[in-house]
Symmetry: C2
Subunit: 170 residues, 2 copies
C-alpha cells in the first residue's frame, strides 16, 4: 500500500491471535530490515528471532505484559557498538540509530504483511542481556512481538505540525 | 508504492536539481514524521526546515559537501532530551531513538514523493548548535537535504540475512 496509508495503518498491537507467522512473511520482514540504510553501510545491528512457545516465563522477565508472549515470535533488535560508525567531532556512536532504522523498517514491513508489532523500549536490559546471552558491546535496543493482531487500532493522537516543525532556525 | 518497493527505491541522493520542492509535497513529508510512533507518544523531536538559498556558507560549516546546499531545503531532526521517556531500569533516554524514527518516516515519505534525501550523521554538532540556535537539552540527530534528485542510485550492497539474523539466542 502507499506509504502514507501504511504509517496510518500501523499501530501498537497488544493482543495477538494464536496463529503462526508464515516463514515467507517473516522472511520479507527481515529482508526489509536487511535493506536498512546505516552509517557508512556498516549494518551494525543484529535481529534475534525468538520462538515464544515454551519460553514464556523467561521472556516475561524481559517484559512482563501478558501479550508480549502471546504472539508466536518475539524479535530483539540489537546494536553492535564495536562495529558501528563513530563521528570524529564528538565520538558519537551510530549503532543505536542504525538499529532503530532497522526496527522501523521491520515494523512497517510487518504492517504491510498484515502482521502486528509493538515497539517495546520498556524492557529490562539486564534480563535481556542474560536471556539472549549478549556480549558486553552488544546493546539490546528494542523488542517487539510479531504475530497476527487480535485487537483494533485506536485513532492516532499527535501534536499538530506547528508544534513539531520550525522554520529557518530553532 | 508497496513498502518493499519503496525501501528499494530510496537511496542516498548526492546531486540535486535546481528545482523547488512544492509546499504540498513538503507538507506530506512532514506529516509522515508527525505520525511517528514515539515512546509513550511524547513526540520528543522537532524538525527545523532550512532554506539553503543565501545560507550556503553557514550551512557548509555544518556539513561541508557541496551537494548539501544544492537542494532548496535542508531538514534538521532534533531530539528533546528533557521531554522524552526515560527507562526506569537504567535511565536510558528515548529521545534519540524517537527522533530517528521520525527521520526514517521522513526520508521514506520523501522517496514516495519522488524527492531525494541523504541521511547525514557526519555533521559538525557544535556548528549545528550554533547556527540553529539549539538549547542545551536539544540534540541534533540528523540532517538531510530535501530536493529533486539529479543522480542515479547504485545497486544496494548489504550483508546476507544469515549474517544479520540469529535464532533463539545470540
Amino acid at each position: 500500500m502507499e506509504f502514507q496509508e501504511l504509517i496510518r495503518k500501523r499501530y501498537s498491537v497488544r493482543v495477538y491471535a494464536p496463529r503462526p507467522v508464515e516463514e515467507e512473511k517473516l522472511a520479507r520482514v527481515l529482508e526489509a530490515a536487511r535493506l536498512t540504510p546505516t552509517a557508512c553501510n556498516l549494518q551494525p545491528f543484529r535481529i534475534v528471532v525468538l520462538q515464544t512457545k515454551g519460553r514464556e516465563d523467561e521472556l516475561r522477565r524481559i517484559y512482563g505484559r501478558e501479550w508480549f508472549v502471546q504472539a508466536p515470535l518475539v524479535l530483539a533488535i540489537c546494536a553492535l557498538t564495536a562495529e558501528s560508525w563513530v563521528r570524529k567531532y564528538d565520538g558519537w556512536n551510530s549503532a543505536e540509530v542504525d538499529a532503530t532504522i532497522a526496527m522501523d523498517h521491520l515494523i512497517l514491513a510487518a504492517a504491510e504483511e498484515g502482521l502486528g508489532t509493538c515497539w517495546i523500549a520498556a524492557f529490562n536490559p539486564a534480563a535481556a542481556r542474560e536471556i539472549l546471552g549478549l556480549p558486553a558491546d552488544v546493546v539490546p535496543v528494542a523488542f517487539t512481538p510479531l504475530g497476527y493482531p487480535a485487537d483494533s487500532p485506536s485513532p492516532k493522537k499527535r501534536r499538530p505540525t506547528t508544534d513539531l516543525v520550525r522554520r529557518d532556525r530553532w
